[in-house]
Amino acid sequence: MKNNIPPFLLNTPSSLPSKRGGGKINTSYIDKGIESFAGILKEGYTQWELASKTGFFYELDTRIKVVFWLFFIIVISFKKEILPELGIFFTIFALSLLSRVNLINFYRKIFLLGFIFGFLISLPSSLNVITHGKVLFPIITLSKPYDFWGYHIPEVIGFTGEGFSVVALLTLRVLNSLSISFLILYTTPFPEIIKALKILKVPDTFLVIISLAYKYIFIFARIVADMHLAKKSRLAGAVNRSDARNWVAGRIAFIFRKTQLKCDDVFKAMIGRGFSGEIKLYQYRKIKGRDWIVGSFLFIIGSLFLWA
């Protein structure tokens, strides 16, 4: 072996960098994307750790929580007024407070998603082109109104008071749905949610798909993060965009192959351990008196909102 070492490997170039600086390497959007993908792992661990704490909602039986979640999602979807939606918002806020959830972290995500999927998406509906009413904030004034294909474009286009009410209602609905879902996720370990759904007669196929998908996200987030590091360790500078895209395309193909192999292996392992298409759980603990009391209390609150 000693004699086979190529001469260039025996040649050690200068140990000192000829110069320092040379400008900064900018982080590409692909690097940023991969880094945030790797953040999924952190989120997963955080969720698991947070959900295993103690606190008001943490200690509640998962079945009660899941029923409460489904019931409140229905209530939130049924209400057509802003006031009850605000009431639900503050009720969930109070529950989060009682559960000692990290409120800053909790509401930061909710408001960001609520802003994008609630406010921004519904904002165009507050224009008088869609929701008729008195224009409060005009934005464009046309020379004359237009009518075509059954649509009426008024002379002054702007935001209406009625439109704002619709946007506020939709945004609140999204915020409330997110808050209640995040509250459950923050206070319940993921396997417990699956068990509760099983007890509530959600089909096994659906649960197997959710569980495996959840597991795969972590496996592949780890693979992607590791691949990113492996590439970084061999990069001596910035990569141009087309090379970066080629790398990503190649890696997607690799992940696809790896996914297929992993799927086959996991399924074989499941079959090997006697899986026949039905999820079987060991006996679930009994619902305690405290859980019934809290569950009833939450049910009454939900009913009041539904009735209000």
Partner: protein
């Protein structure tokens, strides 16, 4: 003369789980250095920190006299210098091989360093001859066996002619013949002047390499640094860090129990 210096390094995964606690060590130029410890003790994390892929939450790491930091590794000149000098072979060769074919894999590093295509190709050919992988030249990495992948992964780093080689569990999962091949390669590279840093829990490898050894505990701290002989003789230390254990085995029909490593003391 020290080439790598680690001063009081702490690292936590997800800001929660400690992987390294108050770790300090020095690695000299041309040295063989092994980091040993049980699974999850932080060996791979340490190697990734030495390669500037992760950055410590506390403490500092130096390569020669230059501090490795997120800031310094964003400087174009320094990145080029550092990546040329320090090569990292990952434990999982699958994640390291990302080019379409073996030859592309071997050319990736030298072309990154700005070498002429001819020179890069010359290096790749020489490395393929040394590693006996010429026949795999045009094969995609997913059509290689585990041992072939490991050879290609090492080759892809060697074409960059690094001064320091970081090897994460280089012999794990390989057949005995490939293990011996890699061991001889590592020794030959060290004799050629390369600094070798290995993370492993394979005590027989440490014995064969006769390297300097840092022992990591399950509490993610350095328990001891010493010569291979000194560390491998310290049975209490190896028991404490879970690198050896009590085991039962048979001589013919007779079963007996040992409190030591199969490889080092028993040699069968």
């Amino acid at each position: 003369m020290e080439i790598i210096k680690v001063e009081g390094v702490h690292y936590n995964y997800y800001n929660r789980f400690p992987a390294l606690i108050d770790l300090s060590l020095e690695i000299n130029r041309g040295e063989k250095f092994a980091v040993i410890g049980s699974n999850g003790s932080g060996k791979s994390t340490l190697l990734q920190i030495l390669n500037g892929l992760l950055f410590p939450s506390q403490g500092r790491v130096f390569f020669h006299t230059y501090e490795l930091s997120e800031r310094s590794l964003k400087e174009k000149d320094f990145v080029r210098f550092f990546r040329e000098k320090v090569g990292f072979v990952f434990q999982d060769s699958d994640i390291q091989l990302f080019c379409p074919t073996v030859i592309d894999e071997l050319l990736f590093g030298p072309l990154q360093l700005g070498l002429e295509k001819n020179e890069a190709l010359e290096r790749a050919v020489e490395i393929m001859q040394m590693l006996k992988i010429e026949n795999l030249k045009d094969r995609p990495s997913y059509m290689l066996s585990g041992g072939e992948k490991r050879r290609v992964a090492i080759g892809s780093i060697l074409t960059m002619n690094p001064e320091v080689l970081l090897l994460d569990e280089p012999t794990s999962g390989l057949d005995p013949k490939t293990q011996v091949f890699l061991l001889e390669l590592i020794l030959a590279l060290n004799e050629a002047g390369k600094t070798i840093v290995i993370a492993t829990h394979d005590l027989s490898l440490v014995d064969e390499l006769q390297s300097k050894v840092a022992v990591l505990s399950e509490e993610h701290r350095i328990e001891k640094i010493g010569s291979a002989e000194e560390i491998l003789r310290d049975e209490d230390l190896l028991l404490k860090v879970n690198l050896i254990h009590e085991h039962v085995h048979y001589h013919g029909q007779t079963a007996h129990t040992h409190i030591h490593s199969h490889y080092l003391f028993h040699r069968h």
